[in-house]
Symmetry: C2
Subunit: 341 residues, 2 copies
Amino acid sequence: MQQPIQAAIFGLGITGSKTAAFLLDRGIRIVAAVNATNFLGQDVGIALGRSPIGVVVTSDAEAALSQTRPDIAIVATQNGIEEILPIVKRCLEHGADVITIAGDAYFPSIDSHQAAVQELHALALARGKTILGTGVQDVFWDNLPVLLSGAAQTITGIHGSTCALADEYGDWVLKALQIGASPAAVAKSALHPFSSALIGPLHNIARQLGLSVTDIHQTVEPVVARQDFEPVLAGRTIHAGQVVGLNAITRLITTQGVTLSAGFISKLREVGDSDFVEWRIEGTPNLHVRVEDRHDIDTTSATVVNRIADVIQAPPGFLTVSDLAPSRFSPHTSAITENRT
Amino acid sequence: MQQPIQAAIFGLGITGSKTAAFLLDRGIRIVAAVNATNFLGQDVGIALGRSPIGVVVTSDAEAALSQTRPDIAIVATQNGIEEILPIVKRCLEHGADVITIAGDAYFPSIDSHQAAVQELHALALARGKTILGTGVQDVFWDNLPVLLSGAAQTITGIHGSTCALADEYGDWVLKALQIGASPAAVAKSALHPFSSALIGPLHNIARQLGLSVTDIHQTVEPVVARQDFEPVLAGRTIHAGQVVGLNAITRLITTQGVTLSAGFISKLREVGDSDFVEWRIEGTPNLHVRVEDRHDIDTTSATVVNRIADVIQAPPGFLTVSDLAPSRFSPHTSAITENRT
């Protein structure tokens, strides 16, 4: 018998809140909402600027999970695996599959969090549950170039570029991006706030194409202003030729001679800019695909919702998106047929 | 034990020849090459402008198949299912899986060739073999919008546009395209040489998203010259505002309220033109993806080669690409492990 999917949401920040709203719009029942500070004691619907749904935001994850036993938990709290580990464990122990937008969970086997990953993987297997990291990467940074590769006869390189406009990110990012500096002053080893964002997707591409990664190189290059302009936030004029952002380039070398690279551009918005993503396949033939506006918050939240059915049906373990078929719009995600455990 | 894949190629026209060359470059052994007229008695390698490979082009399909028993047959002879039916039957009877670039085989269940399709499907099931239609549609007209949909929360429409530059197609196409006519003279029911090309892909998209098609509308619209120019072939000046090609628009209505449409633009090349494909998803959020140059011959041939492993492993029957995972570059297609029958 079909039953409505019951979901718990952990974290009601920008993306968590959007995801919660999308869950409701799809007819997925939010049975628990856990947040550290904001909205505590408020009805989730009210917190989302909507009608009340009869579920109150709490900081008590244990009580929320044990009282509601959701089918799926959406973890949108933090970016690191150690940080999300206690919540994910608790969700698995209470019988929920887990989808997280934590960046470090996107391709967990290549980051430095091995012990935490193995602990979560073992627990997921023991409980027969699935953990998946997903987000904007899933379609745009990973499955898009893999799909394009299906039209290629030979490949010597797959090269991506993705741009995040930093105007709304706040002061710490603007400082890290060395806004207004001279390009010559930017070290190739400069700290880029999102330097690791594309490592997981590139590894996923390698895995999906059967390529063996032998080496990883990372450099940072300045992005310079095309003309004088006054950024929305920075409060002063940036002159043409001055640093307006940084491009963190990750390059994977493989034994098959295929180079995989991607640049994560993070910059202030100039005229004509968008948060685009594009991929070039170097080979026979050369191919190029571009998405002009990624709409990160919307597409990450929608991807999470579209992945729910996949994750509920997936084999247990700490998976990556390359263990699943590519995501697609699944309008009928609101009900599941499998028996609840 | 791994054995090299053995392939037969039927049809050594432009795409068939390119596919044959790609097969050899991947280490796939061509054991038979069948063509109606050209290259008869020539070594296949010579016919491709390469070194001889010890296989002679023949017009005798029966002898070629019975003597070589290939694992896979590539059928690149004609576009209609009735036309390819005798060859496909023969291939199945001799134990070969079949990949064809015949346009009508791309989504066979919705065209008018039901009897032929059912005959082939039944034979494929009886022989435990697979038939698949593929080509440039697979990645660009079908899986690309489906992949993009995975980042959408709601969808009200999926709208594509694909452009084929007609300069090299010859007189019959130029005449059909009403080159030089006044736009007002083009009837909405005008004959477009490729008016049916996108029906299959649109149906495949509907199928992959679980949408039920209730109605199909087709119209033709003139494409007008942006400025005066002299086409490479036509031998006379086309003036700004005159017809420079036609856009055949196919629109599928679904019970879910999602409209699927795609325009097949076939036109003479003006400055800045390419054989692009683009898709827009209307929904939350709006999304747009564009591939600037499709390189039809190369990408169709590469897609065929990349699909070989899928088809050898697929369940028997007359399949469509929506029965398979999306295509991807598969560099190790040259060998199979399954036992030959």
